[in-house]
C-alpha cells in the first residue's frame, strides 16, 4: 500500500465517518463505500489541500460521461492514489 493511499484512506475515514479498516485499496469510492457526490466534494477539498494539487474532477466526469473512461479508473482507491501521484509529479516537473 502506498503512502498516498494511506493518506487518502485517512481523509475518507475522517470526512465520511467510515471505519478506516473498511477502506481498502481495491474499494470503489462510490460503489463500495457509497460516497455520494456531495461528500466527495469534501474529500476532494481535503485531497487538494493535503497534496497541493487540483483533482480534475470535471475532466474525469466528462470522460466517464463520454464513455472514454470508467469510474473504476478514477474512483477505485489505488487508481485514485496513482492519479494523485501523477498530479504531484506533474506539479514538481
Amino acid at each position: 500500500m502506498s503512502a498516498t493511499f494511506d493518506k487518502v484512506a485517512d481523509i475518507i475515514a475522517e470526512t465520511c465517518d467510515i471505519p478506516r479498516e473498511n477502506i481498502k485499496p481495491e474499494s470503489h469510492a462510490i460503489n463500495d463505500l457509497e460516497i455520494d457526490s456531495l461528500d466527495f466534494l469534501d474529500i476532494a477539498f481535503a485531497i487538494d489541500k493535503t497534496f497541493g494539487i487540483k483533482l480534475p474532477l470535471e475532466q474525469w466526469t466528462q470522460e466517464v460521461n463520454d464513455g472514454k473512461a470508467t469510474t473504476d479508473q478514477y474512483f477505485v482507491l489505488n487508481n485514485l492514489s496513482e492519479q494523485i501521484d501523477k498530479l504531484i509529479a506533474a506539479k514538481g516537473a
Binding site: 456531495l38 466534494l41 469534501d42 476532494a44 477539498f45 487538494d48 487540483k54 470535471e58
Partner: protein, 156 residues
C-alpha cells in the same frame, strides 16, 4: 436587503480578484412579514438569512473570478456560527474570501459584522455549474449591476 426577492446584500463595496476577496453591505429592513413570525414581538434576523447573506457575498466573488461564465450553488456549510442577535435596521458588512478553487467546486470563508463586532461566520462549499440558460445569465448581469459590480469589466 429585499427578503421577498432573496436579495440579501445591497452593494458590493470592494472586489479584489488577485486577493480573492470581497466586501458587501446590507441593511436589514426595518419591517418585513418575516419578523411577524421570527419572532412575534421580538423581531430577529433569522440565522438562515445571515447564512444566505454570506453565501451571496462569496458567490458574487466566485462569479467575478470566473468572468460571469458559471454559477456557484451552495452545496455545504461548515462551522457556521451566529454570534450575536441581528435586529431590524442593523447595517451589516460581510467580508469574504475564496480559500480554494477546485475543479467544479470552490470553498469560501465569510464573516458578517455590525460595526466592528463579528455577528456571524461560516465556511461554505459551492459547486460551480454552467448557467442554466442565457436568460438566467442576463438576469444575473442586471442583478450584479444593481449591486454595483463592474460587470462590463469582469464578464469574459
Amino acid at each position: 436587503m429585499r427578503f421577498e426577492y432573496f436579495q440579501m446584500i445591497d452593494r458590493i463595496v470592494a472586489l479584489d480578484l488577485p486577493a480573492r476577496s470581497v466586501r458587501s453591505v446590507g441593511l436589514v429592513p426595518k419591517s418585513s412579514t418575516i419578523f411577524e413570525g421570527h419572532f412575534p414581538n421580538y423581531p430577529l434576523m433569522p440565522g438562515a438569512f445571515l447564512l444566505e447573506c454570506m453565501a451571496q457575498t462569496a458567490g458574487w466573488l466566485l462569479i467575478a473570478l470566473n468572468g460571469f461564465k458559471a454559477m456557484p450553488f451552495m452545496a455545504g456549510v461548515k462551522d457556521a456560527k451566529f454570534r450575536s442577535a441581528v435586529f431590524p435596521g442593523d447595517a451589516l458588512e460581510f467580508e469574504g474570501r475564496v480559500v480554494h478553487e477546485g475543479s467544479g467546486y470552490a470553498v469560501g470563508e465569510v464573516k458578517g459584522r455590525r460595526d466592528v463586532k463579528v455577528v456571524c461566520n461560516a465556511q461554505i462549499i459551492f459547486t460551480i455549474m454552467p448557467f442554466p440558460s442565457e436568460e438566467f445569465r442576463r438576469a444575473l448581469f442586471e442583478w450584479a449591476e444593481r449591486l454595483e459590480v463592474p460587470v462590463k469589466e469582469l464578464a469574459r
